[in-house]
Symmetry: D2
Subunit: 357 residues, 4 copies
């Protein structure tokens, strides 16, 4: 009999439908199907491995996930230390703050008349609405908060920690910012100037010329130091954007000062953009390996899917399948209240890349 | 206090992560998030409604779903009469036949060297492999089967029924074709000439000049008669392609002969194509309403997602949530063994559209 | 000095803007940029090469290109023998017939109220409208034409030749069908049953039970024979769909009967679908090589773009750049008026694959 | 005779192929076709109108356009004042700087082995390569430049003006940064921290703790003041990302301080992202109207296309069709050399939003 080709080793196992399947059982049955279903199952497997390994896990978050109903899923990931550091767009933090302050986003239609919405001061994000008047109030609240801070530049990491603290003390409500504050998980927001949080800061500046100073270059130093301190890292990216690149940049920048860094050991991304137009959001993880952003032997997977479908399934599955790994995990302990953050009690040098030790 | 805008009525409810959630619980929690997650949850709700209503449910199936591990999910939908009629591409039926005959598809890589694959007679479908030699054998098997048939034109509906029967008797294995045969669910394959089943038929023709005659125009008549017989219809479309249009065409064609038809009452589609390039696969269900393919008051939803993610979750949920509706459902009874099919014991007029009664 | 890496050989040459550039000059300047712009420039170069080589060029056409204003561009390609054989969806031929019969499609809006359109019997294709009443009239016209034919099965190739002839004699207007008739270029339409041409045929059947017989399996034999007769082929695909696969299938089927075939020598596709969901429309040309649809040393390019942008630029460029090649080209001469087509005066064996000579 | 429906007013005019057509002639013939071809033709028409109207034109630039061969097209738009203000990602400015410094990007393959590339220090951007060693040298050059600046925060606008000046004086070569310097066109880069320019700045900081201070909040104030000063604005967006939102944010922020602003009067975007996943890059211009980013009566169009195809055609056309409008245009005169920019000789208040006058 003819020998089986080396290419035909593991057969596709058709998905078997059954009543009562839980999320982790569904993903387990998707491991041997094809296309993005298989990739999502692989993402589940890789995230489990990250949690069992001694790595610092970065989570990147772009797209309208907070407005779109995933902020408590992200808060869950932070509070339970599925991740160690969040890199986010400003909008996701702003829409989180909006709900933590007790306001809501609303179910809407992508085909509504936008002039009618504008008339009623309703802002639309595809199929989701919010009150512009409430947004104006948020901006003022952020400006007022910013005026409580010292008159010096703050990295976004320090600023957002303070913001989370202020928000928690005022509201005692769960959310991304408050979860990160309570769990001492750092948040970076490299494009803060391109968001309503930035707008609130600019309004603080308008009131007092020495207020609202953000030191985004300091964030680059600090995020790279985080990688230098523990070069074994992992990257989980939702939606691409500036968070995706910033997480990779931390790895590349760290490598300049410590050649043991070597790129992320694990990477998974859930994106809807595609590689063939050349943009960073859709770029492949293979491409990331050419840059050294990702180790060439990293376990990695790209899931081409909307996070509003993929994340509920994936995190629900991990809530079961990763329970033991989470319980056993010893995540990095951060101290975030000052201008220089500390990891495991050892502060980073202020404004400098850490020397290789 | 200012009154709430009419646009801000139903708040987004962030997805709450919890261990042990089942598929239907996950989809229930996705009903009040945004974007495609909400749409998938809505698809779940609409399919449940279809099953409780007195409608004929068409399922359209394009894309490499059989090769990609979803054939048993589709077989489950047929066997348990979540659907009443399948419209498929030839490839999906062919890859189903391949596995029902005991062969497999295999896990592969989208980045493999294709010249190396060709050397070893491996055919690649993105990240999935199969043996070309086994495909050649299938083609011959199909040709041999076709030569067992009478020398007259067969609609694809009759041909595929006979094929399912032959396959079942030979293999006693589950699959799409065999499930449809056993449940007497009709299958239409309008583009059969664009598939390996068509290739097998052409090889029968090569051997005997009067063999391999397929009457695809007869399928148009029969599918329209199916709608005329019971004008209340629903459409479930996976992946667009010829099945999507054929299901809609049945509705439009039926309307010519019976103005009570009025378009599908329910429609859900899971597609990855987009509307803005004008192609039928990505066309919106709103657009379908302009043509009368869909009733203007139909409940409908488009889910922009890969079926290999969306379908396992959706069908797993229905297996629980639709259990009672399926038990109570009285699906149409078909008689498919002859040139003219019969519904509830009453045959269609051969080669003619049924008159309005 | 350090030697240049083997990977850094040909520099990107930024596109230089200049007034008065013609299409071919623009594409020439796009050859050394990146992403899809480079790919489109490469498509231009490959098509030029095809025209200078001794190959049979297949053109596949899916998506709403005829309704969308590209039918005269395709007619130009046929009339001037940039291509030797057209494989089309039924819809593209139908919308061509609609305009050749003197009716029009109209500029519309993708955001119009579709219930209002339905009320006025307007059918919408994304941003384009047409009169449903005129469509009904077309269907009847097609049925009437079909009743003029002999009562025997017609391949789509023969049927469409007769249709083009009838249309030309009635209208004397330019279009795809009439250009193909006048230039004796064969058209195949494997999914004719999934189109309004099929609907017209079904209405002929309704009137006379032995009318409207189409032999799509015969098309498979004939298209494969076309490849066997001259195994050097090229494939130009617009939009994927059944035409893309049918052109590749002709090559694979031909290989069964003549192992000199070896796949297309050139391939270019302009598609908007992507590979990673596994569907045939978006499948890569590399993948096609694993199947032997495409020679492993073929010159090939995929352009990820809407054909309504890419084709006007590409064909305008070729009208200048390929002038000499077109003048020198000796395209295959077809005889299409009977049940068996002839190439260069030699008919194909009816209903049989041609033996290797 | 039946009256024509109000929906059927302007017929599609099929694209007529002809040798020797120039870019503007091609776009003129695309105005009455469908889908994205029509949209690109409309973009051409809208940009012409912008140039004839008294508006400030913002250009947003995301995606790898500089690396991908479009930097000289953008430089042409700046030098000839098709636009008045550039908002860019850091990467586009960095890759521009790379070439202006005399280095190149190279033609590569999207399927190359990335481990092999990494071994040779080649960084890949889809199908384009560059030398990592040259990038390291750029970063050091940027750090060295940053150390020449005063020890105070710089807005990106001021920083990039100085960078362009330095680059021009050193190289005398054309490019985006040098064109903007020479034409006194302001550039904002809200996400500068997420780019290699930011990395260069962080290396300056590493050397001297008080170096490398960027004031991104100051950019928000200044960009809004630009809108307050002349509320009639237009937006041209390539590829979405932070530039798209930042341009819209300037309009929204300006409205807080001057209610005459009212959103952009014209908007065109060339994007590959889609609206239905909720992300900002793909968001529709209709949605922008709900937020007041765009006037509800604005002339606007979204072109779903890769900029590497659309931009060469569009700008080549404008180079001819907009010649007179450009000659007649009196663009805003900026003074950009200090911490507070001036428009038409009148400086903005430092760190404050301008009061309505």
């Amino acid at each position: 009999m003819k020998k089986k080709s080396r290419f035909l080793q593991t057969a596709i196992e058709p998905f078997a439908v059954e009543a009562g399947l839980t999320a982790d059982q569904i993903l387990a049955r998707m491991e041997r199907i094809s296309f993005q279903g298989r990739n999502l199952a692989k993402a589940h497997r890789i995230w489990q491995k990250m949690l069992q390994d001694d790595v610092t896990i970065f989570l990147g978050m772009a797209g309208a996930l907070s407005a779109g109903g995933l902020r408590m899923a992200v808060a869950h990931l932070i509070a339970n230390r599925y991740v160690d550091c969040l890199v986010s767009t400003g909008a996701n933090l702003y829409h989180d703050l909006h709900e933590t302050r007790g306001r809501r986003h609303y179910i809407g239609s992508p085909r509504e008349n936008d002039a009618a919405l504008q008339d009623e001061h309703i802002d639309r994000v595809y199929d989701t609405y919010a009150s512009e008047d409430e947004f104006v109030d948020n901006d003022e609240w952020i400006a007022a908060f910013a005026l409580t801070l010292e008159r010096r530049p703050y990295t976004t990491r320090e600023f957002l920690y303070r913001l989370g603290e202020y928000l928690w003390k005022e509201t005692r409500r769960e959310g991304i910012l408050t979860a990160a504050y309570r769990a001492s998980v750092p948040i970076f927001c490299p494009a803060i100037a391109d968001s309503s949080i930035g707008m609130g800061l600019s309004q603080a500046r308008h009131r007092e010329a020495d207020a609202g100073h953000i030191d985004v270059i300091g964030d680059i130093v600090e995020s790279a130091n985080l990688v230098i301190r523990r070069p074994r890292t992992a990257s989980v990216v939702l939606g691409g954007g500036t968070p995706k690149n910033f997480i990779n940049q931390a790895s590349v920048q760290a490598e300049f000062y410590d050649d043991r860094v070597g790129g992320h050991r694990y990477a998974l991304q859930i994106v809807t953009d595609v590689p063939h137009f050349g943009g960073a959001s859709g770029s492949s993880l293979e491409e990331a390996q050419s840059w050294g952003k990702l180790a060439t032997d990293a376990e990695q997977v790209t899931v081409q899917a909307d996070a509003t479908i993929a994340l509920p399934l994936l995190v629900s599955a991990l809530a079961t399948s990763a329970r033991d790994a989470l319980a056993a995990r010893k995540p990095l302990q951060f101290e975030l209240s000052g201008p220089a953050m500390a990891v495991e009690g050892r502060p980073f040098p202020p404004g400098r890349f850490e020397a290789r030790t």
